[in-house]
Symmetry: C2
């Protein structure tokens, strides 16, 4: 296949403008206040797929937000690639830490992105990376180089657990039949160190509520005599880790896959500078489970993090009150072979069991997903590896990510095909954080590399 470079060079400005327009829509799936924006985004994606050359594009209703489905079937005998992405984004909070409004994209140069990066919520996760596939499709159809069949499935609930996608996939196995699933919703080590994600962590997300007295109390009249729900909540959360930062929930590690010496040695080869890591985050030192390196702690080991906590008086000044209720949002990242429903149950039972008399505890499971590991000897991985060699001039490094795309495990179960994770973002792109951005170089490099994957995969499949 010819290099897409000249075509990209010619249409670069339009590729940027189209993405920027897409990023202006605040498609925050977690917050119902933005429901219309989420739905509007689905319509924009539909149009873009039609323009990119899909024969059939439809907005598929679900119990939740719609899924945009598009396809171009050249010949049933040819292999079929299923592209997955999501058009919803994380909430932008805390807004005040953004240097520019999250839904008013601006282009700025950074140390790691000397050619400029687009700053906006969703620029990297996942609108920008998803849209690379739409533009790669445009290139292949416009230049009559599409080598195989292609299907697109773009959802709007990835940031809140992809429930409707699960529902949709279970009901449309034939429609979604494919030979390989292609996703760009992860990152790579560096612009000059291409890598392919071979593993994802699972997730269990819960919200807990601790209730003490039936009303807020004066901390003088009642202080010391009744259980303070906030103090109790801190004690309960603190007890979930021991002094080695192991998680104390009974049975939590029972099914955790232990990697071999060899595998851990291979992982250790990936370039990592603790000094640079700490400097980038302004921290004096890393912190985590005893006996594991930083790269292991955030990829092959399960974790438990509080994502949010609140209770009592949080306004200006002082209020001497004992709150009636305290809350926390807690997520656990899981690894093979932990079952997220099992872990959620273990958490619930244990957390309720450690509540002292004088308070009542509620644990509300939010959502979850299973971890995933892809073999590096699959056709899909080889095709991806070859594609990177062509466009980066380097063999990509296989790398496990600490993130989660809960739906990937379900794809394998329901659609019986492997998923290839070709991510072009960097960890420092601040996804889920203020000032999320995506390098223009990375955006265009993705558009250049994806067609090569189509080419390589079709070639390997037919050989």
């Amino acid at each position: 296949m010819k290099s897409a470079k000249p075509y990209i060079e010619e249409h670069k400005d339009r590729f940027l403008t189209e993405l920027i327009d897409l990023l202006k829509i605040p498609s925050i799936s977690a917050d119902k206040a933005y429901a219309n924006d989420v739905i509007k985004t689905a319509d924009v994606i539909k149009e873009s797929l039609e323009k990119a050359g899909c024969d059939k594009v439809e907005i598929c209703d679900t119990p939740g937000y719609p899924i945009v489905y598009g396809e171009k079937m050249l010949d049933p005998k040819l292999p079929t690639i299923l592209v997955y992405g999501h058009y919803d984004v994380q909430p932008p909070d805390p807004i005040n830490l953004w240097d520019s409004p999250p839904f008013e994209p601006v282009i700025k140069k950074t140390e790691l992105h000397p050619e400029g990066a687009i700053f906006a919520r969703g620029s990297c996760d996942d609108k920008g990376q998803m849209y690379m596939h739409v533009k790669a499709m445009e290139y292949m159809t416009a230049t009559n180089q599409l080598p195989c069949n292609v299907k697109f499935m773009i959802e709007g609930e990835e940031e809140v657990g992809s429930e409707s996608l699960g529902w949709f996939v279970e009901r449309n196995q034939e429609k979604l039949a494919n030979d390989v699933i292609l996703i760009s919703d992860t990152g790579m080590i560096a612009n000059d160190i291409p890598s392919i994600t071979t593993g994802l962590r699972g997730l269990s997300y819960v919200e807990v509520e601790v209730t003490g007295p039936n009303r807020d109390l004066h901390s003088g009249l009642y202080g010391g005599a009744v259980a303070n729900p906030i103090n109790v909540l801190t004690k309960m959360i603190a007890s979930l880790h021991d002094d080695d930062n192991h998680i104390t929930i009974p049975g939590f590690y029972d099914k955790v896959e232990e990697l071999s010496k060899e595998e851990r040695a291979k992982m250790a080869e990936a370039p990592f500078s603790k000094e640079a890591y700490c400097k980038a985050l302004d921290i004096e030192d890393v912190y985590g489970e005893a006996g594991y390196t930083t790269n292991e702690r955030n990829s092959i080991r399960p974790t438990l993090d509080v994502n949010g906590i609140w209770g009592g008086y949080t306004g200006e000044g002082a209020k001497t009150v004992i709150a009636s209720k305290a809350y926390a949002k807690i997520s656990m990242r899981l690894v093979p072979d932990q079952n997220w429903k099992e872990i959620t149950e273990l958490f619930k039972n244990y957390f309720e069991s450690i509540a002292p008399k004088g308070v009542t505890v509620k644990v509300n499971p939010h959502h979850g997903g299973t971890a995933y590991v892809t073999p590096i000897d699959s056709l899909g991985y080889k095709a991806a590896s070859n594609a990177y060699e062509t466009t980066f001039g380097k063999t990509p490094i296989p790398q496990r990510s600490g993130g989660s795309i809960p739906i990937v495990a379900l794809f394998e179960k329901e659609l019986k095909s492997k998923t290839i994770l070709m991510g072009f973002g960097l960890d420092s792109d601040a996804i889920h954080s203020p000032n999320e951005h995506f390098g223009i170089w990375n955006y265009l490099k993705g558009i250049e590399t994806i067609p090569q994957f189509y080419h390589e995969f079709t070639k390997l499949k037919n050989s």
Copy 2:
């Protein structure tokens, strides 16, 4: 002195309307957004003191909110009573737990207030109790029965630490010279069990901030590898109590006054039903320091309570983020002879010392106050006791309160006079909580009892 009952009966409706109008002004000293309302309230108090018969009333400027000063000097040879109260109120949060808007007073009957109670922020703490003194003054002047000199000092910063009052008292010792200080800002055991507060706890109020990475992070990519400020904060707070709920700050208990067996036995005589206590709060059991009863835990023992905590994502749904910062507001109730500045320092040093590498910790002291105990053999106490006997037909029980009026210790130091705490609220009046209220019976009983105190004190002083 004649009973005030007939006069109260005649003017009851006006007494209520005037208080209700006062309660409609949201004089929240903790929140600058309400600054104009706080100042407006001072003006209303000034007018009410003039109408009540003070000869000289002035709004005294301070570095913070103004202090309303009023006086009526009959004769320098007569004893002088200094009345203290405050016109500021606690923030009403959480608003959604109020059955009616906090600044739109309504009158409703309750189990403990069959004759009705006024529901509004400040109804009991302290506008309602402070205004009893204004109306008692009106009665005495209107009926030419004022037996002594009287001075009023009503401040607007009690709920945020009374800093300006300290500043004012130090500069106006002559102006404020008195024989006894009278305050109604506490409670009594029950409407049929009158009691006089003989002790108050001190206070140290701090705000803590834990900072980890320089930005919010994706909990997948970084989870397990960096210190999560919220997890760390919960661990640090949890470690402030041991399993017996003793406070673990080194030196915290060094100066705590230990009561004798006899004193504790006397305390134990005060009527208390654990069952009723738990039922009123909807809790299964009480909770607190091992080795002490509920009445001891909330009066003669120091405490450490989190009054507010916040960090990370607290909106609807799920956000998988590691927050850059986590915060908590923490208050410690102190007892004789703990020094609040010393305790604040001990807390700061200890809390900073237990922070793990990978986070930085800031401790910002808010305000504080020293505990206070008044002897029951003082003239003032005897006068108060006699006054209660006249109007309640019962001898009041001396009782230590868990609450704090930081300024009382300063009064004794600067003005060299004892303070008498004649409180007419009930613990169940929900001060500092949603649905704060004050019984109409209690309001009128206070107006009836206060003139008797003037009479008894003058009599005892002259005998």
